[in-house]
């Protein structure tokens, strides 16, 4: 019986079973987000990973944001649905007015509940639903916005072995959320919008269809 895990492209083999390595990225973003996301996703290639985007915004703007981002990136951008299993190459926008969790790092669960840090969806809720699963590569990113949403989430991402980013002051419209995340001491990289994007591309790599 093989207990060792070894890499084979995006697959690993454990106990004789092929385990698909998942790259999961969770982004929390607020005021100034749509314009910032335009820069972030502009020209972004099809990545070998799933991006979960938690943008604080009014519900009627959800579809417009998806439409805008779809025009910029090779990744597919759509609103996350309850029960949906995440796939690589897709950006999932957390719908407004509900919290978004990930069950076993695979399936979305939309949760009614009180606002967290005055917002719903809160990226804290999404990030804190992530489990430590050896095969999964987790990345947490906090970008422009006011308040403290993402502070607990970033600490949790570090605790499950993930990598964390915060947007720098220079490129943030409002440097509240990133600053609060940095204040936890659990942020690995503080970068510009483009810097985070470029690092993400180099870390995840492009999706290859077999």
């Amino acid at each position: 019986m093989l207990d060792d895990v070894f890499q084979a492209g995006s697959e690993s083999i454990k106990n004789g079973q092929i385990m698909n390595k998942r790259n999961i990225v969770i982004i929390g973003i607020s005021t100034g987000g749509p314009k910032t996301l335009r820069t972030f996703f502009d020209g972004m290639p099809l990545l070998d990973g799933s991006i979960i985007l938690v943008q604080h915004m009014i519900k009627c703007a959800n579809k417009s944001l998806c439409k805008t981002l779809n025009s910029l990136t090779e990744m597919e951008v759509r609103i996350a649905c309850h029960g949906e299993t995440i796939k690589p190459g897709v950006v999932y926008l957390a719908p407004s007015e509900v919290h978004l969790e990930l069950v076993n790092n695979q399936k979305f669960k939309l949760v009614n509940g009180p606002k967290v840090c005055y917002v719903r969806p809160a990226v804290d809720v999404t990030m804190k639903s992530i489990k430590r699963i050896t095969e999964d590569n987790i990345i947490g990113i906090i970008m422009t916005g006011m308040g403290k949403d993402g502070t607990d989430g970033i600490s949790h991402i570090k605790s499950v072995g993930g990598t964390t980013f915060a947007q720098d002051e220079k490129t943030s419209v409002i440097w509240g959320m990133p600053k609060a995340a940095i204040g936890t001491g659990h942020v690995d990289y503080i970068l510009s919008t483009e810097g985070i994007r470029n690092k993400l591309i180099s870390q995840l790599g492009r999706q290859v269809f077999s």
Binding site: H56, S64, S96, C117, Y118, M146, V173
Partner: protein, 124 residues
């Protein structure tokens, strides 16, 4: 009603500048000098992008947005702050879902036109 842009600012020079820049860009502008007038326009069916100052006498920008939410007037409108207040402070935290962007004065024509082009598309 076609999408419009509402500038809410007690400073007449700001209102005039916005009207000139956006008017030249082909946009339809509605200029008001107070939060109360903004609410009145919304009650009468204004549909569009609202550029909101913060520091206004009698009713500042944050209270105006809170009143918009309380009266259920937000609808498909989009709100961006247009303000000389560099650091928004804790008031924005409670209204963060209602405010799409935050433009600081002084602003360039390009910034203003870019903001409007970006966010008018989000108006329903």
């Amino acid at each position: 009603m076609d999408k419009q842009i509402m500038i809410v600012d007690d400073d007449p020079s700001i209102r005039e500048t916005v009207e000139i820049v956006l008017g030249a860009g082909g946009y339809s502008i509605c200029a008001v000098d107070s939060g109360m007038e903004c609410l009145e326009k919304l009650r009468k069916g204004f549909n569009g992008l609202i550029l909101m100052d913060i520091m206004m006498p009698k009713m500042h920008g944050w209270d105006t947005i809170a009143a918009i939410e309380d009266e259920g007037l937000h609808g498909g409108n989009v709100i961006c702050m247009l303000t000389a207040v560099h650091d928004p402070g804790p008031e924005l935290e409670k209204l963060t879902e209602c405010v799409m962007d935050y433009i600081r004065k002084p602003f360039t024509s390009e910034e203003l036109l870019g903001t409007v082009a970006e966010y008018l598309a989000y108006v329903q």
